[in-house]
């Protein structure tokens, strides 16, 4: 029985092509390049890099902090560590909860060092920031989902959340560069901050959780090519 099963499986494997590591890496490079092009395109279309009265040091500090946290989120979402089973749950949970908190804390703390940061920002509800952030993050989000598709055996939802977080953190970092205050140091005005900066991050994380089932391999017997028993007859 087992030798017959072995023969069937090997025959099936030789008839059903599966990409080798080199081919997969080539595909991954193309997908990453497409995501980078997408993000650059969005950045080009909405190319309003912050100027105005906001001090350079504040823009640099908030942006660099956001970029550093986005890199951490990206590494956790894309790389699986040394195990085929992906990151451990404590790591994923820490990152999914910790990075957004750090992003918000960093932003608020840095801007609080400057004066007048929570003054009302009339006419800038944050809708535009939110839309542009969603466009910024869409490319990386789809790309990371594609890179990790059918590869997550355990903790699919937390992995999905970490993917959403990575995309949201990239969008956050780009928003930091772009969001132009109308007055002096008003970027941490709470309604604008929540809708334009925090909401896209939360939406990407939620979307990652919802789409987590794409990350798990298809367990359905009907959906994958199985060794056909009739082949041996």
């Amino acid at each position: 029985m087992s030798s017959r099963s072995r023969a069937l499986l090997l025959r099936w494997a030789s008839s059903v092509p599966s990409p080798t590591r080199a081919e997969v890496q080539r595909q991954h490079r193309l997908v990453i390049a497409a995501a980078v092009l997408w993000t650059m395109g969005v950045l080009w279309v909405f190319r309003e890099v912050r100027g105005g009265p906001r001090p350079i040091w504040l823009a640099a500090v908030t942006s660099l902090g956001a970029v550093a946290l986005a890199i951490v989120a990206l590494l956790v979402a894309v790389r699986r560590g040394h195990s085929m089973l992906g990151r451990a749950k404590p790591v994923l949970v820490s990152v999914v909860i910790g990075v957004p908190l750090l992003l918000i804390t960093w932003k608020v703390a840095a801007t609080a060092c400057a004066h007048g940061t929570v003054a009302a920002w009339v006419g800038r509800s944050g809708t535009r920031c939110m839309i542009v952030a969603l466009l910024d993050g869409a490319g990386p989000f789809v790309a990371i989902l594609w890179l990790r598709r059918r590869s997550v055996l355990e903790q699919a939802r937390w992995t999905g959340a970490s993917i959403g977080l990575a995309a949201g953190a990239i969008a956050w970092a780009l928003n930091e560069l772009r969001c132009r205050p109308a007055g002096v140091l008003q970027v941490a005005y709470l309604p604008h901050f929540l809708l334009g900066h925090v909401m896209p991050l939360v939406m990407f994380i939620g979307l990652g959780v919802v789409l987590a089932r794409w990350l798990s391999p298809s367990w359905s017997i009907a959906n994958i090519g199985r060794p056909n028993r009739s082949q041996s007859d």
Partner: protein, 247 residues
């Protein structure tokens, strides 16, 4: 089998036996009653690690495009997978083993360089097993009467009886304990996974795996002690009955 146990029962195995049970006799009965656990006794840790290194190397070659390595991976891991799956879905073992290796084949390109194959393959098998059990609960109930732990070949009739009864006791105890405890015990003691690997497969922490395995062993020991006490009572009753007849 006994010679095999004597010859290849490593110090490490003995230590782990002792840690799992206060009474050496219990350990021997426990392991004598289970062909699977007895197989564990015969497996030297170093040999297992060497085998795992060979499988990891074969998987590296396979991921890089050497199709012939797939047979090596199958030969090394399929018997262990069968042993793992036989306990839960004896009637679908081959099907799930095939499914597992289908997944390995389809995902070979994404295999991480330097990663371990065995925990990955076991995790795939476990997910397939869960999926299968969820989809076919009625099939699971149909297998209730089938033996999960077959006694190994013993020549003496009283030994065979003892082993058979012990196997039944172990099977019943394993069946009644929580799935997490059972899986932890099986992966550690039977399949030879390290605590860390078993934790990864089960999606929990190493401390939780140790705790579950310890609880499972304690439950088995309690069951065997109860059975032994019952056996002693039966023997003394029989002896007193026989004395009464003789007098």
């Amino acid at each position: 089998m006994a010679a095999c146990v004597d010859r290849r029962w490593s110090a490490d195995s003995r230590r782990r036996f002792a840690a799992g049970s206060n009474d050496r006799k219990d350990s021997v009965i426990l392991f004598a009653g289970s062909s699977v656990l007895a197989r564990h006794v015969c497996c030297d840790r170093d040999l297992m690690e060497a085998d795992e290194r060979n499988v990891d190397a074969a998987m590296e070659r396979y991921a890089d495009g050497d199709d012939a390595a797939f047979g090596n991976i199958y030969d090394a891991l399929a018997p262990q997978l069968r042993g793992y799956l036989r306990r839960s879905i004896p009637e679908h073992v081959e099907d799930v083993v095939q499914q597992t290796f289908c997944q390995v084949h389809l995902a070979r390109g994404s295999f991480i360089r330097g990663a371990r194959v065995k925990p990955w393959v076991f995790a795939i098998a476990r997910r397939l097993l869960i999926d299968r059990l969820r989809r076919a609960k009625h099939e699971a109930s149909a297998r209730a009467g089938q033996p999960l732990w077959a006694p190994f070949r013993i020549h003496a009739p009283d030994e065979a009886l003892l082993a058979s009864e012990t196997a039944t006791q172990i099977r019943e105890t394993l069946g009644s304990m929580p799935a997490g405890q059972r899986e932890a015990l099986v992966l550690l003691r039977d399949e030879g996974l390290s605590v860390r690997e078993a934790a990864v497969v089960l999606g929990t922490t190493a401390a939780a795996v140790k705790f579950r395995a310890r609880r499972a062993l304690q439950a088995l020991r309690r069951a065997l002690e109860g059975r032994r006490a019952l056996g002693r009572r039966k023997r003394s009753t029989t002896r007193s009955g026989a004395d009464g007849i003789e007098s």
